[in-house]
């Protein structure tokens, strides 16, 4: 291992400013003369806006301007778009509703912006907003999938009958039907994947500026992809050339996918800034975040697994319905359908067919959140495997082991969407079983019963496509002193890129991290890029930086050959310097740098400077994978579920910084467990959001979350030279399934076949109360001399 290079658990470079309070988040940036924007939001689930009266509000102290949806239309601001299109129910491309910056004529979810007030202070803006009179006619609304698809459901969009936006199929229906026809056993399960919210601790924010001298807009905002944000705003909303807009993302306090989607407030501050010729800023308050951010997930799943007599998987059939919300966020459809390849899992599964329906409802648009469809797809296979195991009386670990793709079969074409290049799933499972003492679990279950507690254990294998998205750009420049500056189009919201990317450069160019200056997040500084999404950065950056570094080394050799007066073929890059082969004549990095900037001293034909810029498309996506095991204990008296153990055996191919990888796993697991245990977004029948603060939205707390034991099962990827697979989201992908399986396993002795998330104490207790085998179970407890809650349950 090279010092500071790949594989080292180096403490992070970015930490110094973050632990001393010198981080620079968007709200920390001071802008002279900045006004404050407040967004007035629709209060009904679905309403027609018959009139807006701003006369009194205009006179309120401090008000600079008030703008409504009518003004948006008058100024010709455009609509946001969707990353992908799929087929609608009629086979044609799906209906794309206009997604405006402010509601006009109709407000389609509670929380949609209907007007903005810009004032000197936020209090003044709020007080003025209270004076705005809006004439709403409430309309009947739908918030859930079931209500949206009901035959008599009101339509969110007239153009979209049945509220059905997308109807798409993936896989081989005929082969799957045949597999089911031949099956010795078919397991079926219906389950819910709840609607949740990314809830980064830093809420969304934006500062908009417009420079009359250049006619350029500048947006400072905590976003995951500055370039994509700029392109969406410039092209779709403002209809200007991308060069007329600059987007700067400073430190970002958590993104998780949420901040990868453009949202109206970004456009609104820019628009207002131009109108007022002064900067305008906006920061969401937490309740406002719940109302106005994109939400996530919200699926109803029907999953069937066909098995032969030996317990081998023959086919998987999935019917899933997804709630898109009232509009299409950038990634909404992608999350619903784009990651369905994870249905194959790590198993030999010859036939798969999935039908996916995506529906509109009068709720906030759903979008990307840690895993973006992969946690859901993984759960579609992992839940039904457990159901099958229970029905067949087989240990769920054993049933999985029988069906794992063997390492000797790589590269393995799943026959569905993906071809896996590498991975050792049996080893991963064995490791996870080992550290969790899976084989001794039934003893632990029995011991828990003696305390009137139900213990359960759940396993999930997860495999996901990572890094396959789009191109990325990096540029390395060496200055005359030999210091190196890296510009790259990715951006970090906590994943530690400032450290891991330096480690890559330390590896390739033998540099010390302190010698590397790192520029990212500013579209004016970095010409192009895609940003952080889909666990792509480690793999993409690894490949990209190796190529760019090679370009630097190649150029360095040219110059070193002049310095050392040797043929270029004899020059090698050794320990950070350029050396003549088989001699100890060297030119240091700094010496080469100095000469590079004195073209007068170079022979004719040499231009000055030492830099290399490339945009690369990665050779192929990668497939990070892991085996997760979760153990829970339920207090039968209160329904409280505690996670008593969590183990992950993860394959990230190659960890640039193992400590950072583990941190990503920890954080991802807790987000998955948070959803299983209690996070849920809930709208009532009138379309009101009832979970609009941390008082009602159950954020995972330190006292409730387990220690997460990780063990590495890295198998280098074969599709990129570094072997990196990526790590950002796997924790969540696994925890959703492992957690759900564990809770269902705990409730199994009561005859409960499936229990839907969230496992709040209320819901678990009711499930126990209504369980089919409750009487028999209590009788058995009593006859064994164990305590029962029989006296507790009314």
């Amino acid at each position: 291992m090279r010092e500071f290079g790949i594989g080292q658990s180096l403490p992070r470079t970015e930490d110094y400013r973050l632990i001393t309070g010198k981080g620079r988040y968007t709200d920390d940036i001071m802008v002279d003369g900045c006004a404050r924007m407040f967004v007035l939001r629709a209060t009904h689930g679905f309403s027609r806006i018959d009139g807006i009266n701003i006369d009194e509000a205009q006179l309120s102290p401090g008000v600079l301007c008030i703008l409504t949806g009518a003004d948006v239309v008058a100024d010709g601001l455009g609509h946001f778009g969707s990353l992908v299109t799929r087929s609608g129910p009629d086979g044609k491309p799906n209906f794309i509703p206009p997604y405006p910056m402010l509601a006009h004529q109709f407000a389609r979810f509670a929380g949609e912006g209907v007007a903005i007030v810009v004032a000197r202070t936020l209090d003044e803006a709020k007080s003025a907003a209270e004076l705005i009179e809006i004439d709403y006619t409430p309309l009947e609304c739908v918030t859930t999938i079931e209500r949206a698809e009901a035959p008599d459901a009101p339509l969110v969009w007239e153009e979209c009958p049945g509220n059905l936006c997308v109807l798409t199929e993936v896989g081989d229906e005929a082969a799957t039907d045949a597999a089911f026809a031949a099956a010795a056993h078919v397991a079926r399960v219906d389950f819910v994947i709840s609607r949740v919210h990314a809830a980064p601790i830093e809420p969304r924010n934006a500062i908009g500026e417009w420079d009359p001298a250049t006619g350029r807009y500048t947006l400072h905002a905590g976003v995951q992809s500055p370039h994509m944000t700029r392109d969406e705003l410039a092209n779709r909303v403002f209809h200007i050339d991308e060069s007329q807009m600059r987007v700067v993302a400073p430190d970002v306090g958590g993104g998780f996918g949420l901040k990868g989607q453009p949202q109206p407030e970004m456009a609104l501050v820019l628009w207002a800034a131009k109108k007022l010729c002064r900067p305008v800023r906006w920061t969401a308050e937490r309740s406002e975040s719940f109302l106005s951010d994109c939400h996530a997930r919200d699926d109803l799943v029907h999953s069937e697994l066909a098995l032969d007599a030996a317990g081998r998987f023959l086919g998987l059939r999935v019917r899933s319905r997804v709630n898109l919300g009232a509009y299409l966020s950038l990634a909404g459809i992608h999350c619903a359908v784009g990651n369905i390849g994870s249905l194959s899992g790590v198993y030999v599964l010859p036939a798969i067919h999935a039908e996916i329906r995506c529906l509109f409802s009068n709720t906030s648009p759903t979008g990307a959140y840690r895993g973006a469809g992969r946690p859901e797809a993984s759960m579609m296979i992992e839940r039904v495997i457990d159901v099958a195991a229970n029905e067949l009386g087989i240990d769920p670990a054993d049933l999985r082991r029988r069906n794992l793709i063997q390492p000797g079969k790589m590269p393995y074409n799943t026959g569905f969407i993906f071809t896996y290049d590498s991975g050792d799933f049996p080893a991963g499972q064995a490791k996870a079983e080992g550290i969790s003492r899976w084989s001794e679990f039934e003893d632990r279950r029995k011991e828990a019963l003696s305390r009137n507690c139900l213990r359960g254990i759940g396993m999930a294998h997860v495999i996901e496509i990572a890094g396959g998205l789009l191109d990325e750009m990096a540029e390395i420049s060496v200055d005359p002193s030999g210091a190196v500056s890296l510009k790259i189009g990715t951006h970090s919201q906590g994943q530690g890129h400032e450290t891991t990317l330096r480690q890559l450069l330390a590896e390739f160019l033998h540099l010390e991290p302190a010698m590397i200056r790192f520029e990212h997040g500013d579209t004016d500084q970095v010409a192009s890029g895609f940003g952080a999404a889909g666990s792509r950065v480690a793999m993409v950056a690894g490949y990209l930086l190796e190529n760019v570094s090679a370009g630097i080394i190649a150029r360095g050799k040219e110059i070193a050959a002049v310095l050392l007066d040797a043929p270029i073929a004899d020059i090698e890059f050794r320990d950070g310097s350029f050396a003549v082969h088989n001699s100890n004549r060297i030119a240091t990095f700094a010496e080469v740098a100095r000469l590079a900037h004195r073209p007068m001293a170079l022979p004719a034909g040499f231009s000055g400077g030492w830099s290399n810029r490339q945009i690369v498309r990665t050779p192929a996506p990668t497939f990070p994978n892991a085996c997760h095991i979760c153990e829970v204990e339920i207090d039968m008296d209160t329904g409280l579920t505690t996670v008593v153990g969590y183990w992950v055996s993860e394959d990230v191919g190659l960890a640039i910084n193992p400590m950072i990888v583990k941190g990503q796993v920890h954080g991802g697991v807790v987000q998955g467990l948070g959803q299983v245990l209690g996070e849920f977004i809930h709208y009532d029948e009138e379309g009101q959001l009832l979970t609009a603060s941390f008082m009602d939205y159950q954020m995972p707390r330190a006292s409730e979350m387990p220690y997460i034991h990780t063990i590495s099962n890295d198998v280098p990827a074969r599709t990129n030279p570094m072997g990196i697979k990526g790590a950002g989201e796997g924790g969540t992908v696994g925890a959703l399934s492992a957690g759900a399986n564990a809770i269902c396993d705990a409730l199994k002795p009561l005859g409960i076949v499936n229990f839907d998330m969230p496992a709040t104490p209320l819901r678990v207790w009711h499930a126990i109360n209504a369980a089919p085998l409750r009487q028999e179970f209590m009788a058995k407890q009593r006859s064994s001399g164990l305590t029962t809650p029989a006296s507790e349950i009314a």
Binding site: S127, D637, H682, D696, M699, T760, P761, E792, A794
Partner: protein
Amino acid sequence: MYPFDYHRCNDVDEASTLLESLEDAKFLAGGQSLLPMMKLRFAQTGNILDLRDIPDLRGITIADDDVTIGALTRHADVGVSAELRAVLPALADLAGGIGDPQVRAQGTIGGSVANNDPSADYPAACLALDATIITSQREISADDFFTGVFETTLEAAELITAVQFRIPNQACYIKFRHPASRFALVGVFVARFGTTVRVAVTGAGSQGVFRWIEAETALTAAFTPQSVAGLAPDIRVMNSDIHADAEYRAHLTGVLLRRGVSGAISRVA
């Protein structure tokens, strides 16, 4: 927050007189109940009267049969008081479990009791420990003090100066935290004075904190968990929302009652 004027009071009389003369004014103790409401614009006032400088309103006094806690005593200080723990550990435990460490560093008993949040902990202690709320004007029995959700018998300009709790033979407070808000979803305080037992319940009732008479009768007859086996409050008086319906709250109250009795028995006092 809406704007307001700010005043700092030097003594109780000044505070009461000022509130009475201003009319549109509120007392500010620890701020952990009032300020959150004002930040969300759910409450407003033209004047804040900050009580922080008023002397003699902090401190814990232990007597033979009762403890008196000054109204501005912070939860954290009640929680770590060795003197209090020696005679009434259940109360110290309760205070030490309110909210979180930072909230406990500021929140006060006077503010909590005056606010009577239906999910707050102290009101349950007041009812179960037969407390006397001592104000700038009079002394009020806890049984008479709490009249409904966020409602008490305090007059407009009346200021709580201290709360006096009777020292029981045995007591215990068990709280089941609301998984999101971390307030008491249900909190049950059980206290035995000789053979007489008092039981107070917070969080569960739709009318706020209440004494559970049926439980008190059964436990007065026999102070054991078995004597209240299967007992649960009337579902009709239980609160209900998306986090906990009435049936669950009633059941949980019974569970916590039995755990509270076991907890009390396992201690000396």
